[in-house]
């Protein structure tokens, strides 16, 4: 399928993601932060669609926006936030933290500026076959990355047991 108006959509979704990210880290109310994060995650799913990765976009919407954020909202509702909303929001090392983050950003810019020639102005090397994306991911997931797949399932089992044990009142 031919992509249409790619620059417009890229800048739109990039702006939504960045605004969502800024709202996540600056809102006083954690529920508002969670909502901003949901918006940012959905915008990221759209960018995945632009990058010809529909399966990852679908997984992002189901797992991240529909699963992990529900978990976050549940916990925010269980943990009373009124007291925390009246306290000071930013801790005492915010200056040092921001300077460190800006330095990291400068490092990123330096690396990207130096290596700009690696990414030619033609966006793609090989045009991926969009109709077979899921099948390709499945072949790779159950073929080459089978071991990692099994380990990931074991990790999820451990996480489930750990979360249940941590949240119980009496073990």
């Amino acid at each position: 399928m031919t992509p249409v108006a790619t620059p417009f959509f890229f800048y739109l979704f990039a702006a939504i993601m960045l605004i969502g990210g800024i709202l996540v880290i600056t809102r006083r109310n954690p529920v508002h932060s969670a909502l901003a994060l949901i918006v940012a995650l959905l915008a990221q799913a759209s960018i995945y669609l632009m990058l010809y990765a529909p399966f990852v976009a679908g997984v992002q919407v189901i797992l991240y926006a529909g699963g992990i954020m529900v978990l976050f909202l549940f916990v925010i509702m269980l943990v009373s936030i009124e007291r925390s909303m009246k306290e000071r929001q930013f801790n005492s090392q915010w200056v040092a933290g921001s300077i460190a983050a800006v330095a990291l950003g400068g490092l990123f810019i330096a690396v990207y500026a130096k290596g700009e020639k690696i990414f030619p102005h033609h966006a793609m090397r090989i045009t991926p076959d969009e109709l077979l994306n899921t099948q390709g991911v499945a072949t790779m997931l159950y073929g080459q990355y089978m071991f990692a797949f099994e380990i990931a399932s074991l990790l999820l089992l451990v996480a489930i047991i750990g979360a249940v044990v941590m949240a119980k009142k009496r073990i």
Partner: protein, 105 residues
């Protein structure tokens, strides 16, 4: 302006880097544990964006498969992190991360 209109892989990488910086700022400066955990999710998403952009650049699907694993990992980590948060809240009745100082001398 010309180069800004044609979207190359570098655009996606810069976007990923910006999200990463936002997440790092959130982790380092906020006092509410839930928001720190959400900033960690931002960082993981930035890494995912990087991976998928490179997968698009090279044409193979390895980046997308790794991104799926990272999403799975983030789910597990969010679950355990929030479980720890609930246990902590039950003890101390606060979600301020500066109050996690029982092992300080």
């Amino acid at each position: 302006m010309e180069s800004m209109l044609h979207i190359t892989t570098l655009h996606y990488l810069v976007l990923g880097a910006a999200l990463f910086i936002l997440g790092v700022v959130g982790v380092l400066t906020r006092r509410n544990v839930v928001i720190v955990l959400m900033s960690i999710e931002l960082i993981l998403n930035a890494v995912n964006l990087n991976l998928v952009a490179f997968s698009h650049f090279w044409g193979g699907l390895h980046g997308q498969v790794f991104a799926i694993f990272i999403i799975t990992d983030a789910a597990a980590e969010a679950a355990v992190g929030l479980g720890i948060l609930i246990a902590f809240f039950r003890n101390k009745e606060t979600v301020n991360i500066d109050e996690v100082n029982l092992m300080k001398w």
